[in-house]
């Protein structure tokens, strides 16, 4: 979790910066800078693929060890009728789990801050669920859950839930004391303090939780499927990965892997974009420094 958090930071900066610069894009210098920001990663990607292709040809690497980029592309196209539906299943589990984690995490965070007693009673269990490796709980969940799909969903939810809960709870508690005094002074009730003060103040924290949770939901969906050993129709990308390995169909394995990575990257960019859209007007994290 912590690695995800740290690696996510440097990547988010250029994304936010690109957005910030849009208003002044008429400036030729800015335009050049924007182009470079896009060109460098694209050129780097192209160079890596070329290196990969060259290595495979030059050293005559067998395709069941390392397939060439063209073989992987072919596998992607030819096996799309298998990979496509699998991707859809994985996406469905990931996003359903994330949505449930979002609702559950925020609701429980709001509940926790209502009273010290509730927090004392409930928070330890949230921590226990988080620190116990999901792979270790998965067999149990498989026994208890009515279907494999719902078991996967529960696993992914458990993993995505905690970062959203802990970050949101932290945000709800980190409200400026003077603002709390101000609300008390003007006779705000509990509900008004929550939705006019605590929830907006917690938004940056919540969005951090969402970014971490979004990445973890995908990872958990894959890991849970490995643990569940689900098979046949209706299986996700994780099963297709294992299956490709058993059959030594390495090009397809690579294709499935690329689909997973692209999904993860897209989730990351989507959550970063949401974060930017919600915060760019006021929060320090999304505002470009003016010096």
């Amino acid at each position: 979790m912590s690695t995800l958090e740290t690696t996510s930071k440097p990547v988010s900066t250029p994304a936010a910066a690109v957005q910030e610069e849009t208003p002044s894009s008429t400036d030729p210098n800015r335009l050049g800078e924007r182009l470079i920001r896009i060109l460098i990663p694209v050129a780097m990607l192209g160079a890596l693929i070329l290196l990969w292709a060259w290595y495979v040809t030059a050293y005559d690497v067998p395709h069941y060890i390392l397939p060439s980029p063209s073989r992987v592309t072919r596998a992607m196209i030819e096996d799309w009728h298998i990979l496509g539906p699998a991707l859809l299943v994985t996406l469905k589990i990931t996003f359903t789990a994330l949505a449930m984690a979002l609702v559950g995490g925020v609701a429980l965070a709001v509940l926790l801050i209502q009273s010290k007693w509730i927090e004392l009673a409930l928070y330890p269990y949230a921590v226990i669920l988080q620190v116990t490796p999901i792979v270790a709980i998965a067999p149990l969940i498989l026994i208890y859950a009515p279907t494999t799909q719902s078991a996967l969903l529960i696993c992914a939810w458990l993993v995505a839930f905690f970062p959203i809960l802990s970050n949101t709870a932290q945000g709800l508690k980190s409200v400026d004391h003077n603002l709390l005094n101000l609300f008390e002074l003007y006779g705000a009730n509990r509900w008004q303090s929550l939705y006019l003060l605590r929830l907006p103040a917690a938004l940056p924290y919540f969005l951090t939780g969402l970014r971490i949770g979004g990445g973890l939901a995908l990872i958990a969906a894959v890991v849970a499927e490995f643990a569940a050993g689900s098979a046949g129709a209706g299986s996700g990308l994780a099963f297709r990965l294992l299956e490709s390995q058993f059959r030594l169909n390495i090009p397809r394995l690579f294709a499935a892997l690329i689909l997973l990575s692209v999904t993860g990257v897209l989730i990351f960019f989507a959550t970063s974009l949401i974060s930017h859209l919600l915060l760019h007007k006021w929060h320090e994290s999304a505002v470009k420094r003016e010096n």
């Binding site: 005094n181 002074l185 006779g187 938004l203």
Partner: protein, 287 residues
């Protein structure tokens, strides 16, 4: 700064004559709020206030002046209803309703920090006190815009706090305190963090507003000069335990403009107030 004084009595008969500007309400009017023998002891045992009594009359501009730790902010918070006194009573003689209910409606509070919600526009920040009373955006619009106009920020209604300078943020904070049209305005070192030029400007603007609208102001400050410039009454406080050591009238006429800062009356009062403050601090050192 202060040496032994040769003229202890300030020049009450200044060339302008006392009260030449605006007619202030008679000193005998019923107090708007009355503190009686207030004691406040914090949970860690610190005596923040000891036997503090204060009558605040309608229309007064009172400064609570003292070193840090003398409990001047605590007085303000108690009057605002943020926290309870350990003993003693705070009365609101001129109020028809019960204390808590009326206090909610008739007090405006300006904190030392602007204390704005960074996610809300200037308009929404100023709207807040009315919104918490259940007033809709549409029915509040006129009041909010009036309050913004008073502080000269009517063109910044849609700006966000981070786009404003320190002085402008403080103006928003003042507009928010004024939007409920309070009878009593409590200000807790509102200009302490601002540069001197901005502070002088805001001092003048605040005095103009006070003269036009006739509120009662309790202004907490640690600046002798600011308190003399603004107030018609200065309550000097000392620390450990927080208590009142002097209650002085500043009998200089309003309107006061920048040339008042260089006048003899102003300087004499500054010296007197400063002496009172030092006497209080020396007394503590002797004890």
């Amino acid at each position: 700064m202060t040496t032994a004084t040769d003229t202890n009595a300030p020049l009450r008969d200044s060339p302008d004559g006392p009260g030449a500007g605006t007619a202030r309400p008679a000193q005998t009017a019923r107090p708007i709020v009355s503190l009686r023998a207030i004691n406040k002891v914090f949970s860690n045992g610190t005596v923040a206030l000891k036997d503090m009594s204060l009558d605040v009359r309608p229309g007064e501009f009172i400064s609570l002046l003292g070193p840090s730790g003398c409990g001047k902010s605590t007085v303000l918070r108690l009057i605002a209803g943020l926290g309870e006194a350990t003993s003693g009573a705070i009365d609101w003689p001129s109020d028809r309703q019960d204390r808590q209910g009326s206090a909610d409606h008739e007090i405006g509070f300006v904190f030392q920090e602007p204390t704005l919600m960074p996610w809300a526009s200037v308009f929404n920040n100023v709207w807040l006190p009315l919104r918490l009373k259940g007033r809709s955006r549409a029915t509040s619009r006129e009041d909010v815009m009036n309050a913004l106009e008073m502080v000269g920020l009517e063109n910044f209604a849609n700006a966000y706090p981070r786009e404003l300078s320190g002085g402008m943020k403080m103006r928003v904070s003042i507009a928010r305190a004024l939007v409920t049209r309070p009878k009593l305005l409590l200000m807790d070192e509102p200009f302490a963090a601002l540069d001197e030029i901005t502070r002088f400007k805001l001092n003048n603007d605040l005095l103009h507003l006070w003269e036009s609208f006739g509120w009662t102001v309790i202004f907490v400050t640690h600046s002798v000069f600011e308190s003399v410039y603004l107030s018609d009454r200065i309550v000097v406080m000392a620390a450990r335990p927080g208590r009142v050591v002097a209650d002085m009238a500043i009998d200089a006429p309003y309107p006061r403009e920048d040339d008042f800062r260089t006048s003899t009356v102003y300087n004499d009062y500054c010296r007197d107030v400063s002496n009172a403050l030092h006497a209080a601090m020396d007394e503590k050192a002797d004890a």
